[in-house]
């Protein structure tokens, strides 16, 4: 079963919930190698998104995701604001006018989102950023989709790959973002942005499973 606009709405609501619940955890991760605000930033952004969504009912998935993107840009700040903001904006542009997403649409959407993150942040895989969760995730999505499994399974494998990617940031030395200032002292800590990326993709898989 493809994802509908309502499912994507669900995803965003679920993301807001999960980020709210994990706000202290993300901030704690950011204390270790950053400035102790990542959870606060993400929570502020997604609470603003929730507020926005009580007042309007976007017509399609593209409109919805664009709204999420512009709201995040306008409320998150820091590094994660422009990055996640651009990701959702690009995802929205990629899905303009769509009411449903099949597995291949999801792959295309993730691709577009991640291209946005790369363009904005100029980071590559292995620099200990959210891309280390996102890039393996979209690779896994692509593989699963070409293996013709169900959409639910695609999304579960995507989330699993994000989780592995997130964990793989622990031994990395950061060379982008605030953690890079620490040099070798950044090694041994999990990247907060990679963690929030996993939480977002996990929320999408969970929504799809619950259908």
């Amino acid at each position: 079963m493809p994802l509908t606009t309502a499912d994507i709405q669900q995803w965003i609501q679920q993301s807001a919930l999960v980020l709210h619940e994990n706000s202290s955890y993300l901030t704690q991760l950011d204390s270790d190698i950053g400035d102790a605000d990542h959870g606060i930033n993400m929570d502020r952004g997604f609470q603003a998104v929730k507020m926005k969504l009580t007042n309007m009912e976007p017509a399609d998935i593209g409109a919805l995701l664009k709204l999420v993107g512009t709201t995040l840009v306008s409320t998150v700040g820091g590094a994660s604001g422009p990055l996640y903001g651009t990701a959702f904006l690009r995802a929205g542009i990629n899905t303009t006018g769509k009411q449903t997403l099949e597995a291949e649409d999801v792959v295309a959407m993730l691709d577009a989102a991640i291209e946005g993150v790369k363009a904005r942040g100029k980071a590559q895989q292995g620099e200990k950023t959210m891309l280390d969760a996102l890039l393996p995730a979209v690779d896994a999505a692509r593989q699963a989709q070409s293996a013709q499994v169900t959409l639910e399974q695609v999304l579960q494998q995507t989330a699993a790959a994000a989780e592995n990617g997130m964990k793989a940031t622990i031994p990395m030395q950061a060379t982008k973002g605030r953690a890079s200032y620490l040099g070798e002292r950044s090694i041994g800590h999990q990247d907060p942005g990679a963690t929030s990326s996993w939480l977002l993709l996990k929320a999408l898989a969970d929504v799809s499973s619950r259908k």
């Binding site: 400035d35 102790a36 605000d37 930033n41 700040g77 820091g78 604001g81 973002g177 605030r178 200032y181």
Partner: protein, 333 residues
């Protein structure tokens, strides 16, 4: 967490309201758009100069809005870059037709948000140039970092650039001066204690009773290394030598020497550090032509200090000395 606040999520707004009330003669504070604008801006034909960054560094930047310095500031959440909307609103508010300079400290978030704002302003036909400060010698400027952080030089740059903008100089010249100041200055900081982000509720890092962090930034990030606490004279030396080296300061040159408090260190101690600094420079026959000692770019209640040296030439000296009238820096009027 022990702070004079109400709810952590309201602290930035309420501090802005306090500034609005205390400095109504100088500032127009828009709590909706979250910007602090010079009361009489925009000025026809004058380049607008704006800056912005996370809150928690007060008086920077809001305290530097006024005659001869910034036309507007955009305070973000504590330690979080402001959003493009604020920067765009500030840009619009100060644009007097001669363009607007964005002064951006080199942090990934600040750079990206200002980039987006500049794109939006350009789309509206406003001439925007951006200058990124990156003076922190504690960070290696290499492929392996996000580049040096913008710290103490930002304060001096905002003053000097505000001074030249006040003369009616065109945007190109104002931006060139900003880049020049950034090139001539270097900084390094250290912490005796951590700080506590109000919304986080506990110290960002733990430091033993006999430890200090060397090479910290201004966001409670841990520094490059942890060391046993030592004397003010040795600490000053640890901070100053890399600056002198990196700037290639030579005997006979003159500098502005800036000893900055991180927020929780008393002025008495900053003067002890200044004394150590002036002895080091005297020993190297470097002349201190101007000085600044106090809390100007802080990190909440962190105890510690940073040192900034800015190599001066006649032009920098002239615009540093030019009149300024802001809540935090004032002379000549």
């Amino acid at each position: 967490m022990k702070k004079l606040i109400n709810q952590p999520e309201n602290v930035v707004k309420e501090a802005m309201a306090g500034m609005a009330a205390a400095h109504a003669d100088l500032l127009r504070v828009d709590l909706e758009q979250q910007i602090i604008v010079r009361k009489d801006a925009p000025f026809q034909g004058k380049v607008g100069v704006i800056s912005g960054g996370g809150s928690g560094h007060e008086p920077m930047h809001g305290g530097f809005v006024g005659y001869g310095m910034l036309d507007a500031a955009c305070p973000g959440a504590v330690f979080t870059s402001p959003v493009p909307d604020q920067m765009l609103a500030a840009t619009q508010a100060v644009n007097g037709g001669a363009g607007v300079l964005h002064i951006v400290k080199n942090y990934t978030g600040d750079v990206m948000n200002f980039e987006m704002a500049a794109e939006l302003a350009a789309a509206e036909g406003i001439d925007v140039q951006s200058v990124v400060t990156n003076d922190d010698v504690a960070v290696q400027d290499s492929l392996y970092t996000a580049g040096r952080r913008g710290v103490g030089v930002t304060v001096l740059l905002e003053k000097i650039v505000g001074g030249i903008a006040e003369t009616g100089a065109p945007l190109d010249q104002v931006a060139a001066m900003a880049r020049h100041v950034n090139e001539q200055g270097r900084s390094m900081g250290m912490a005796l204690t951590s700080c506590t982000v109000p919304a986080a509720g506990k110290p960002t890092f733990d430091l033993g009773d006999d430890e200090m962090e060397i090479g910290i930034g201004i966001h409670g990030e841990p520094g490059r290394r942890r060391m046993k606490l030592t004397t003010a004279t040795e600490i000053t030396d640890l901070l100053t030598q890399p600056i002198i080296e990196d700037l290639g300061l030579q005997a006979g040159q003159q500098v502005l020497a800036f000893v900055n408090g991180m927020g929780g260190t008393p002025l008495m101690e900053l003067y002890v550090v200044y004394d150590a600094l002036q002895r080091i420079l005297k020993g190297k026959h470097i002349t201190i032509a101007r000085s600044l000692v106090g809390n100007y770019i802080t990190s909440l209640e962190m105890a510690g200090c940073s040192i900034t040296l800015l190599r001066l030439d006649d032009e920098l000296l002239r615009y540093w000395d030019a009149p300024v009238h802001t809540p935090a820096l004032r002379w000549g009027r």
